[in-house]
């Protein structure tokens, strides 16, 4: 019984601990990032190579996944199978730089799962 409890204790992370780890991750990641001030060089030195770059490097993205124990880590870069994480908790940091290589906009996109019902093969059509 004791060993069963120990196994459960190791395997399960309480939601509060998970939330605390998520908060710490977010604070640590976004704390030093400031629009209009942070430079591309600072970002690259701190976060390393981005997961993806768009529009000639004007937009950089960094992908993160959370392990079952609640620890956040950088996702693998660029592999085709990256999207198929069995555990869908992810975050994506998007950084947009201006011509002077300073950050102009940024966003941390977390958990796209929505509580509303699944899509019914419908989409917003392009306006004519």
């Amino acid at each position: 019984m004791l060993s069963f409890g120990l196994v459960l204790g190791v395997a399960c992370v309480s939601p509060s601990v998970r939330q605390e780890k998520a908060r710490a991750f977010e604070t640590g990641l976004l704390g030093p990032i400031e629009d209009g001030r942070t430079t591309r060089q600072e970002v690259l030195l701190r976060l390393g190579s981005p997961s993806s770059a768009f529009e000639g490097g004007r937009i950089l993205t960094y992908d993160f996944v959370v392990d079952l124990d609640g620890e956040w880590r950088r996702a693998g870069s660029g592999r085709a199978s990256d999207w198929a994480y069995p555990h869908p908790r992810t975050a994506s940091l998007v950084l947009v730089f201006g011509p002077d290589d300073r950050l102009v906009r940024h966003s941390l996109v977390k958990d796209l799962r929505q509580p509303d019902p699944p899509i019914q093969e419908a989409a917003a059509p392009p306006p004519s």
Binding site: E55, W83, P86, V94, S107, Q114
Partner: protein, 134 residues
């Protein structure tokens, strides 16, 4: 006390019976992918107006980048229903999955030219789902 033979026969029939049930109701649970994107979530993105920058800031890193960023694809797999089989002493329920994707195409000015939800596994020839009126 003598039990009615109908009851005994019924119990015998139930104990020998195995069954299979397809439960075709999507639960919305995720099996793979970064998240399920709904039409409501992308309603703020407007064709002809929103830029690639707006899309990336709203949806994050795409799962597929085609033609040097002219097309971005977001993919996910969700539970579309269950196949349940049961017999005496046990039962099993296996979820069957549905692949979904959101494809966004951009023009030369980096503005959103087309937004479409699709279904089918990655690389499959499944075409875009016909758009519905908002």
């Amino acid at each position: 006390m003598r039990r009615p033979p109908g009851l005994l026969l019924g119990i015998l029939a139930l104990s020998l019976q195995t069954g299979c049930l397809i439960w075709p109701f999507p639960t919305g649970d995720m099996l793979a992918g970064r998240g399920r994107i709904t039409p409501q979530y992308v309603s703020s993105l407007q064709v002809g107006r929103s830029t690639r920058e707006d899309v990336l800031l709203h949806l994050g890193e795409p799962d597929e980048v085609v033609d040097g960023g002219r097309t971005l694809v977001y993919r996910w797999t969700e539970v579309r229903g269950f196949l349940a089989a049961g017999g005496y002493g046990g039962a099993v329920a296996i979820p069957f999955s549905g692949h979904r994707a959101l494809r966004l195409e951009f023009g030369p000015d980096a503005r959103l030219a087309r937004l479409a939800f699709e279904h089918g596994a990655p690389g499959s020839p499944a075409g875009p789902v016909p758009a519905a009126e908002p």
